[in-house]
């Protein structure tokens, strides 16, 4: 069953000098429930913009996004926000934990935008989710007292605490060393698989991308399926590391 579908999605922005910058061109993509998709691409190729559109944070300039069975074109902003809160979980490269809030408060934050039992039981649910990611001993720790790996595990717990149908991970290992990154990705795969959520990962790292079942490459705003074996081979010859490009400004 298709969870989110992009048909002919394009995105462009007007620059201050009135020139037009095309970021995405005629993207077609289907993400099914429980799917695991990776998107690799150079910096500036439009990966984050694509992720924002998938996560209902941004609207396409052209084309149509369907979430569930519903086209997002006609949905009003407030409902779109609630739909995103209930169905989408984000994992960011820089973790984006709320400073000054404990791990428990950070994980409980998405539940404060829910209703009913999930809202009133938010601290208990958040504690259970932190336990699931192995941080039951860090409930009251502030982000600046956590290691990078622990912060990303808190971020994963936060993304999953509302049991979303779609998890969007934007360079989830970008700020971590190789070993910690691998451990965090294993955890993300595991908990996503447990909850049956679809996982879309955008990354520079081919090893991270290789964990997905389907792989895409975004190049100059054009999305194409990619054969990772060829990419690995090319990168092995071209570069000593598995990265396809250097880290840079995203859009």
């Amino acid at each position: 069953m298709t969870l989110v579908s992009l048909r002919g999605v394009a995105k462009h922005v007007l620059l201050p000098d009135d020139s037009r910058l095309d970021i995405l061109h005629a993207i077609d993509l289907d993400v099914d429930a429980g799917d695991h998709v990776s998107i690799v691409g150079r910096s500036g190729s439009g990966k984050t913009t694509l992720l924002n559109i998938l996560g209902l944070l941004d609207a396409p300039s052209a084309g149509e996004v369907t979430f569930g069975d519903e086209s997002t074109l006609a949905i009003r902003a407030g409902r779109l926000d609630r739909m995103r809160g209930a169905n989408v979980g984000f994992v960011f490269q820089q973790f984006n934990l709320l400073a000054g809030r404990t791990a428990l408060e950070n994980v409980a934050m998405p539940l404060s935008y829910s209703t009913g039992t999930a809202f009133w039981q938010r601290n208990a649910l958040a504690a259970a989710m932190l336990d699931r990611v192995g941080l039951s001993h860090r409930l009251t720790s502030l982000p600046d007292r956590l290691s990078g790996g622990e912060q990303q595990r808190v971020a994963i717990a936060r993304a999953l605490v509302r049991k979303p149908r779609l998890i969007l991970a934007d360079e989830p290992t970008g700020a971590l060393d190789v070993e910690t990154g691998a451990s965090v990705m294993s955890l993300l795969d595991e908990v996503a698989a447990e909850s049956g959520a679809a996982l879309v990962t955008i990354t520079h790292d081919l090893h991270v991308a290789a964990r997905a079942r389907r792989h895409y490459r975004l190049d100059a705003g054009v999305l194409q399926p990619v054969n990772l074996d060829e990419a690995f081979a090319a990168s092995t010859h071209a570069e000593p590391t598995a990265r396809v490009s250097t880290r840079g400004k995203k859009r």
Binding site: T48, T49, N52, G55, L57, D58, A77, G78, D81, R82, R84, G85, A86, G89, F90, F92, Q94, N96, L98, A99, G100, R101, E105, M109, P110, S112, Y113, S114, T115, G116, F119, W120, R158, R162, K250, R251
Partner: protein, 411 residues
Amino acid sequence: MSDRWSLAPAAGALADAWAELRVHKLRVLLSLIGIAVAVGALTAVVALGELQRQVAAEQSDRFGGRIATIMVGAYREDGAPMNWDAMDARFDRVAERYDFSRTSRIVDGAVTVPVQLPEGVTSLPARLVDPDYAAIHRLALLEGRWFVEGDTELLAPPVVISEGLWDTIGRKPIAQHPTLTMTGDLAGTYQVVGVTPRDGPWDVAPRVDLLYDTYRERLEAIPSDISVMREIWVPVEIVGELGPVLAMDLRAGAEPGLTITVNRTDWGAQAGFADSALIFQLVTGAIAGIVLLLGALSLINIQLVAMRQRIREIGVRRSFGATSGRIFTSVFLENVVATTIAGAVGIVLVVLVMRSDWVIELMFPGIQDVPPFPFSAAVTGLVASVVVGAIAGLIPALVALRVKVIDAIRF
């Protein structure tokens, strides 16, 4: 519970606001000191206004009687001598129908009594009253007691003397039963049962308060050249109707040439007192309002700077389902909750200060009935703090509303 009617959004917004205040305690504390001071000042002004009114009322009561005091007077237009006993009888006959709780005859300023002092017999001014005079005029004694019913039966009739006279006779403690000796028609020994305080440092005059009946019993008749007034303390609700009816009753059947006057003498009948209290309150209130405005501007300034630092946080919250309305409400409530708490702190401090006996005595020496802390002052302060919070919260909340999520979470 349906999504539409859930309490969760409101409770969540309030919880967010509280958490934000808790996390940024220092910033909040610094920004709210001004608000607490301003709200405290505003509350204090309203409360001081009430106390000032009470002081003015008490001072006025000493002269004109409490609200509402009716004074009945009489004089003869034809120059014939005034028969005060007949006037008493007339009043008592009429008063039976009204059941007055407090009445007192007063002769003030027209009577002197010969008192034996160390330097010889001295004629001292005397005030002739009934026991109810103290209640009607809110008279508090420096020492001893005031007159009570039955005092006229005592072998040594009681007198109450002024502090100036008490000094003259050596300030002998009342417990040791000091006495005064009078000569002439009033010859005899009188027991000093109380001392009235000075009106101020200048007030050193020796005076004697004597029961009207004690004076009357020692004379054949009250001299016709003095004027005896009769004061009646009545509920303020009925004074308007009572005055004319009482006047009509007292005048009914009066002999020709006798004129009876009925007036209201308490300060409540004078517009000037209320006006001066209002002006005091308006001036001090305006100053407190300016302080409040400055506090609000400072809060807006700090909140706007803080908002710049919270753009990423707002972006993250939006990406996890916070609607723009929810963000607006949270930021708005932060300020309202913060200023309300600051205002409450300011109000509590003012209440504590103004309930202190030491402060009251220092600011309003001689006040008798300290009114309870005016509820209106606390409400005014609380409303002011909520309104300031709403105004100061609106601008940062509008700024928060304009945060673009994709820009906020990008870096």
